[in-house]
Amino acid sequence: MVDVALIDHVFILAAILFCLGLVGVLVRRNIIFMLISMEIMLNAAGLAFIAAGSAWGQPDGQVMFLAVVTLGAAEVAVALGLTLLLFRRYQSVDVDNLKELRG
């Protein structure tokens, strides 16, 4: 179907998305944006799995993608619950409010 270079390009796309997600996590103080950025990073990882799986013609890549999706779903559910707690406590979604956790 396509030449070998495409797989490399898919990997590079995954890397770009992952790095953008990381930038989002680091830059935003709004915890909702941080969580969305983490979804991007998870997506990027899933993309890499699928690309590898399809390159070999094996189903394992998609199985791992399923695992990633499951992880993401569970993570988002718990994290959004924590977000609600944070907001209830400080009337704000600023993650820097959690500074009190310092040692």
């Binding site: 179907m1 396509v2 030449d3 070998v4 495409l6 797989i7 490399d8 390009h9 898919v10 990997f11 796309l13 890397a15 770009i16 998305l17 992952f18 790095c19 953008l20 997600g21 990381l22 930038v23 680091l26 830059v27 935003r28 709004n30 909702i32 944006f33 969305i36 950025s37 979804e39 991007i40 997506n43 899933g46 993309l47 890499a48 699928i50 690309a51 590898a52 799986g53 399809s54 013609g57 189903p59 998609q62 199985v63 993608f65 399923l66 999706v69 499951t70 779903a73 569970a74 988002v76 559910a77 718990v78 959004l80 619950g81 609600l84 907001f87 209830r88 979604v93 600023d94 009190e100």
Partner: protein, 194 residues
């Protein structure tokens, strides 16, 4: 000719994915950010389809663009930040704040590229059907399925417990309100975990 068409679609969707992600991380309004995340997910679904993984593409649309997004939207609604939230974001997002994370991401990218490219000797993407995935899931990866179910159950119970409003917990509510009356006493950080 078909290959060219294929490649054009791939690069266009890839560009859309990167662009929408960039826009997503830079939005001031959370709903806007979520919309761009949907765009990003949808383009990724197309890429999955192009890579010969139609099952994964369907899951991406259903779970990300469907379920997870709904969760986010609910929470944004419950918080109800509105214009106040936008003003807040404008204060928080200073241009100088992008430099450090950007540099870190660049270096990370620089490490990723040689690590990921050129190592794979493959003939190109091949179709992996949903049937093959199902056989793998309930064959050698049965344990992964079980673990995923455990994880989801734990996520469900955890989310329910954590997000439960404090008023429901009966006895605790008294102590919470009384504690709020004595704000000068430094027990404020201790409460609220329930």
């Amino acid at each position: 000719m078909q290959d060219t068409f294929f490649l054009v679609i791939f690069y266009v969707t890839a560009a859309v994915a990167v662009l929408s992600t960039l826009l997503m991380i830079s939005r001031l309004n959370a709903v806007h950010g979520l919309l761009y995340l949907i765009v990003s997910s949808l383009s990724l679904a197309i890429i999955f389809y192009l890579l010969g993984a139609p099952f994964a593409a369907a899951l991406e649309v259903i779970i990300y663009a469907g379920a997870i997004m709904i969760l986010f939207v609910f929470v944004v609604m419950m918080l109800n930040m509105g214009h106040k939230g936008v003003e807040q974001e404008r204060q928080w997002l200073k241009p100088g704040g992008w430099i450090g994370p950007g540099l870190l991401a660049l270096v990370l990218f620089a490490v990723f590229v040689p690590a990921l490219s050129g190592g794979l000797v493959s003939t190109g993407p091949r179709l992996v059907s949903a049937k093959a995935v199902g056989i793998a899931l309930f064959g050698p990866y049965l344990l992964v399925v079980e673990l995923a179910s455990f994880l989801l159950l734990a996520g469900l119970i955890g989310a329910y417990h954590i997000a439960r409003p404090p008023e429901i917990t009966g006895d605790d509510s008294d102590s919470l309100t009384s504690a709020r009356h004595h704000d000068d006493i430094a027990i404020e950080p201790l409460q609220g975990a329930g």
